[in-house]
């Protein structure tokens, strides 16, 4: 297995200290083959030909949500998420990956430009009735999940934008999957193609700022896209914002004055928004700005426990994703909060499902839904996201 020199050096820099035991997959499964240090040792073993690359090994390697909890605790400050993703890309090259569920996502995306396999024309259905521009400096990037499965998130976001008179563009059927599911699962080639399509669209429309309400899209556009652009020799000069940052900015600038609400809220840091991009405070500031009482879970910010749905885990390993999600829901329940707020449609859907499965009365909502429905409209309708 080949790895770039810098990544290969990580294998030797790893102290095997096991501070990465916080890994949600290891906490659920308890075997070293799914632990981050086990994966590093595995890669070292493959490199030194002490072990063979085999399907079972690859499966365990994919039982990781790439949540970055390992990287946060790493004694030697290794860029582990990058290592996992690049190692997965090598497994794809060796023909032992992608795993079946991830392969299916690829096939669907190749046909429809989204991993849900929905017809392209349907991507803009949700925005009917809302005001938006064809061309503007700000581009709202709804993302595939909010466009096809969690439309309430997209609707609430643009509803809020309309209320504050924010001029923004939306690419509709010309908005393509950001490529996150493919970058996370080692299928880099398809992500490059999707990048190029989105990039050209944004350039054509004179976009300067891209706003996403999906933590996964936000991470991909903020971190992965500039690297891809550099590799492809393209200029990258976009500002990238997550909706939580924009809403916070609007409140601070006095352009949005939500009414105060009386509610106990706990906040789940999505891995892609928190650990990956260090957006910890803005969502909390918004929650406080609307007067809600924020009760932190024991593990929060950099120590937040992954919901279990990222990195291709939910699509391939449902039981594992369920175990992690239930763990997080229990933690949220212990706070005594009425609302569990997140900033990611993936987290929201999965955590809601886990709360329902356990019969736990917890309103799982996105931050934008909370602000738009409760603090702006004055009531929360409890409209649920629609999931396949």
């Amino acid at each position: 297995m080949k790895l770039e020199k810098e990544l290969e050096e990580m294998l030797h820099a790893c102290a095997q200290c096991f501070y990465c035991r916080v890994c949600p997959a290891f906490q659920s499964i308890k075997w070293e083959s799914v632990s981050p240090r086990g994966r590093v040792y595995m890669l070292k073993g493959l490199k030194n030909k002490k072990i063979k690359l085999e399907p079972k090994l690859v499966e365990d390697f994919y039982r990781c949500t790439t949540c970055g909890a390992c990287e946060e605790q790493c004694q030697t400050a290794l860029h582990l998420v990058e290592l996992w993703e690049m190692a997965r890309a090598e497994m794809v090259k060796e023909g032992l990956a992608p795993l079946p569920a991830h392969k299916k996502l690829r096939e669907l995306a190749l046909q429809t430009d989204n991993p849900y396999g929905e017809p392209k024309e349907k991507k803009e259905d949700w925005i009917k009735g809302y005001k938006y521009e064809e061309n503007a400096e700000i581009m709202y990037f709804a993302g595939c999940t909010a466009s096809f499965r969690a439309v309430e998130l997209a609707k609430n976001t643009v509803d809020l934008f309309n209320k504050v008179g924010l001029k923004f563009a939306y690419a509709g059927k010309n908005e393509y999957c950001c490529g996150s599911p493919f970058l996370r699962t080692g299928q880099r080639d398809i992500a490059y193609g999707l990048f190029r399509k989105n990039y050209e669209e944004w350039k054509k429309r004179g976009v300067k700022t891209i706003v996403s309400s999906c933590a996964g899209c936000y991470r991909t556009i903020l971190i992965d896209y500039p690297k891809i652009a550099k590799e492809l020799g393209l200029e990258w000069n976009f500002e990238v914002l997550h909706t939580s940052q924009l809403v916070n900015r609007l409140i601070k600038e006095g352009k949005l004055s939500p009414q105060k609400i009386s509610a106990k809220v706990t906040y789940h840091d999505p891995c892609h928004l928190g650990r990956h991009t260090k957006v910890y405070e803005e969502p909390r500031e918004v929650i406080k700005a609307i007067g809600a009482e924020l009760i932190e879970m024991e593990r929060n910010r950099g120590e937040s426990f992954c919901c279990g749905s990222g990195g291709g885990v939910k699509s391939q390993f449902k039981d594992l994703a369920g175990a992690m999600g239930k763990n997080r829901i229990q933690e949220a329940k212990e706070t005594g909060a009425e609302y569990l707020v997140s900033c990611c449609p993936f987290c929201k859907y999965h955590l809601k499902q886990m709360a329902d499965e356990q019969g736990i009365q917890l309103k799982v909502v996105d931050l934008v839904e909370l602000v738009n429905n409760l603090a702006v409209k004055g009531e929360y309708k409890g409209e649920d996201i629609r999931c396949a």
Binding site: C17, K30, Y41, I51, T76, A77
Partner: protein, 431 residues
């Protein structure tokens, strides 16, 4: 091999490979090791006894394992050689990942822990009850209670409360004849014994009330540090020599003044630099960050009387030609555990082997200065007499009684087996 369906276990080759290691990466010595045959993860004491029953029935050897965060090889399975032949005995590993619960006895300030309980998880729960650990290792975010007890050693808080051995109230031990609870003088048969006399299934460890702690930094020599550290009733003392500060700066990207520095954690008021003290305190769990610089690391760890430490550090400076540095956690009894780091690229075989020789030279130097190795484990089992002193004979007799067929973690702690022999020769050969 008998299958015990209800106990989580694995004999998958990859898992066997992954469990046959600790944090060390000793060159050549891997020739003396084998892969474990099966790993069991018991969930309670009953299942530990069941694994021991299987081991007895099959004549297998048993290696207990906490988090595998030590570098002395206590959890490594050596090739079982008797009469110059491989014995063919199977090796069972007992991994305590699933036995990680603990209870807090607030009134008596004692924690009752399962072997796999993780120190820092305990500390977080203790803090909610206004209690705190008296001592903990610098690997506390991942290391386990029984792991540290079975290896022995010093850490944070040792200046006031001594080593982990001084803070264990009682142990519950499983062996081939059943379960026993031991305390007082009998504890010596188990503390630092790596499970060769029995497997720890419960440990009662002393804790204390939380106190307002101050952290001070002093730019002083090792000699001056001794005076400050042992002058008051301080909780913890950590000395970093200039070489180590330089390595830390390189690996953390910080710019601490590159000179000797002492940190004291104390409830007393001292005339030191609080910012500096806090900075060192906050990084106490990250001694191995310097591994990035190799990438790779060779370490030496010896316990010396405090008054020998300045001379010992000077000898190391002259002896080790590569960039290196030491940190010292002081302990009650006017001594200090000196941990020396030498970043070294393990891919450069010859250079790496030669760097390892420095570790052996450091040990020989420490012994000449009334020092002892920090632990025995597998690599330094030849040093049993130095570490255990007069207790060694008694422990060897006890081992024969409780484990007549030498099934419990053979090759560890006691000066027997191929590793002890090889290390003795190596020490003689290396100048």
């Amino acid at each position: 091999m008998n299958e015990v369906k209800e106990i989580p276990s694995s004999d998958w080759d990859l898992q066997r490979y992954l469990y046959t290691r600790d944090i060390s990466s000793a060159p050549v010595i891997s020739l003396l090791l084998k892969r474990v045959d099966v790993i069991y993860q018991p969930r309670d004491e009953r299942e530990v006894l069941e694994v021991l029953r299987i081991a007895k029935e099959e004549g297998a050897t048993v290696v207990p394992r906490g988090a595998g965060t030590s570098g002395y090889g206590g959890v490594l399975p050596p090739k079982d050689i008797t009469m110059f032949r491989l014995s063919g005995r199977k090796t069972i590993m007992i991994d305590f990942t699933r036995m990680d619960d603990f209870e807090i006895d607030e009134e008596n300030q004692i924690i009752k822990c399962s072997p796999g309980a993780v120190w820092w998880e305990i500390e977080k729960k203790l803090n909610k009850k206004n209690l705190t650990l008296r001592v903990y290792p610098t690997s506390a975010p991942s290391s386990t209670v029984a792991g540290w007890i079975a290896q022995g050693g010093y850490g944070v808080g040792s200046l006031k409360y001594g080593g982990i051995a001084d803070n264990v109230e009682k142990l519950r031990i499983a062996d081939f004849s059943g379960v026993r609870e031991v305390s007082g003088n009998e504890l010596k048969y188990y503390l630092g014994m790596e499970g060769i006399t029995g497997i720890i299934t419960k440990a009662w460890v002393k804790v204390k009330e939380m106190e307002d702690m101050n952290y001070y930094g002093f730019h002083v020599s090792a000699r001056e540090a001794n005076k400050i550290v042992f002058a008051g009733d301080h909780y913890a003392g950590l000395f970093l020599d200039a070489g180590y500060v330089k390595l830390k700066n390189e690996s953390f990207g910080t710019d601490m003044p590159e000179k000797d520095v002492l940190m004291v954690a104390t409830t007393e008021k001292l005339d030191g630099d609080e910012g500096l003290g806090e900075e060192i305190w906050e990084k106490r769990f990250y001694p191995m960050r310097v591994r990035r610089l190799g990438p790779g690391l060779v370490a030496a760890e010896n316990v010396l009387p405090a008054d020998s430490i300045p001379a010992y550090l000077n000898r190391l400076k002259k002896m080790i030609k590569k960039p290196h540095g030491s940190e010292i956690w002081y302990s009650k009894g006017k001594k200090g555990a000196v941990l020396t780091f030498i970043p070294s690229d393990e891919r450069k075989f010859l250079e790496y082997v030669l760097t390892w020789f420095n570790s052996i030279r450091a040990l020989k130097t420490a012994k000449k200065m009334r020092g002892v190795p920090y632990s025995t484990g597998f690599y330094l089992s030849c040093e049993a007499k130095t570490v255990l002193g007069k207790d060694l004979d008694e422990i060897m007799k006890f081992k024969k009684v409780v484990d007549p067929k030498n099934q419990l973690n053979p090759g560890k702690v006691l000066p027997k087996g191929a590793m002890a022999w090889a290390m003795k020769i190596t020490q003689k050969v290396i100048p």
